[in-house]
Subunit: 223 residues, 2 copies
């Protein structure tokens, strides 16, 4: 006798767990963001600046997903917010069960914003609902403008696109208008923010958007 | 030797086909809507009224999905727009390949709006991307206000919720505020329209929204 693993069961089971997570988050009034990108697009650096800009007004925590190492959680913790590292031990994406497993390590009632930094990968993370409220993706201009056509699912499921490293635009061939048009073909309502962590530009609009999302979740909490 | 069907391959293959469909639709400037609900929520009646209100200004076609019969396509065709019936022959949802197969039967350059009426089912259709631009769901007030909690995936993926048969609200126990709150917990940006096909209320706002979506797609067509 041998076992056959049917992956659709994994996806269906993940979906159920994700909906459970989402219900749990709303009960505690926590807005949850699933941050995704290819490797090196600047997720952790973005998080560091975002935390510094918002931590005086909102209670923030971070889940760091990586295949291995706890380097990113250490970087985040240095900014004074709770950070838990998940090592997937090989898997190229987080899933809802992994999030559920670490939830007891947070006091959700003491949080406004939980950011999950997914494994650096433009493919599989897009297909696994974690129970977040929004998926947000980064694309750095150094990666090239052809990415929407090559990774359509990620662009299709994202609520917002953070175009990062825009300070490097003068030095790379990246047609912003063309890339954004290709992204919007996949996602009519895609919110776009152009950011540079190095030049510290674009963060006001991004943080303002995040603040609006946090408040929207708060407005749904039952009295 | 025996064959093993891995359903994840079906979903992955569907996703690829859906992205291809979406690219195809945008090349022809057609906005595509995937209309979903449980059985008898009023999809076809909604379509009839929507077509009557919009057909003078926009070129519309419909794909009707049903397990069997061509009754719905006949109803739509009577309103003077092209309608193609897909019979799934048992399957409880449409998939991207079924849409691709019937595309040659339409002159996409002669269309502004293609509406796909999915099989009446609140579960599986939510999981199959057809390449549409928006998923829109109907919930009739006679079905009960507990549906967001029971069918979370459908509410999570829908761009808009059409609450139908609202003329019956005085005669049923349906807490609109509670249902909408539960729906928005699953989907922070859910657009909601309250409609009655019988009383002919709510159609102006719905058609105005549709018109905005059609124009957004047109704005993305390359010159």
């Amino acid at each position: 006798m041998h076992e056959i693993s049917i992956e659709s069961d994994i996806l269906a089971s993940n979906e159920m767990c994700a909906q459970h997570n989402r219900q749990h988050f709303i009960e505690h009034g926590v807005y949850v963001l699933n941050l995704m990108s290819g490797p090196g697009a600047g997720k952790t650096t973005l998080l560091e600046r975002t935390i510094d800009m918002m931590k005086d007004r909102f209670r923030i925590a971070v889940i760091e997903g990586d295949v291995q190492t706890h380097a990113d959680a250490d970087r985040i913790a240095a900014h004074g917010v709770p950070a838990v590292q998940i090592n997937t031990g090989g898997a190229c994406h987080l899933d809802a069960r992994l999030i559920e497993n670490v939830m007891p390590r947070f006091d959700l009632d003491a949080l406004d914003l939980l950011i999950i930094e997914n494994v650096g990968n433009l493919v599989c993370p897009a297909e696994f609902d974690l129970g977040e409220h929004d998926k947000v993706m980064l694309l750095s201009v150094t990666e090239g403008a052809d990415k929407p056509l090559k990774y359509p699912v990620m662009f299709h499921v994202a609520k917002a696109l953070l175009l990062t490293k825009v300070d490097l635009l003068p030095y790379v061939d990246f047609d912003v208008q063309s890339a954004l048009r290709d992204a919007r073909v996949l996602n009519l309502d895609l919110q776009v923010f152009q950011l540079s962590s190095r030049a510290q530009t674009g963060f006001e609009a991004w943080c303002e958007w995040l603040e609006g999302r946090i408040k929207r979740v708060k407005s749904l909490v039952r009295a």
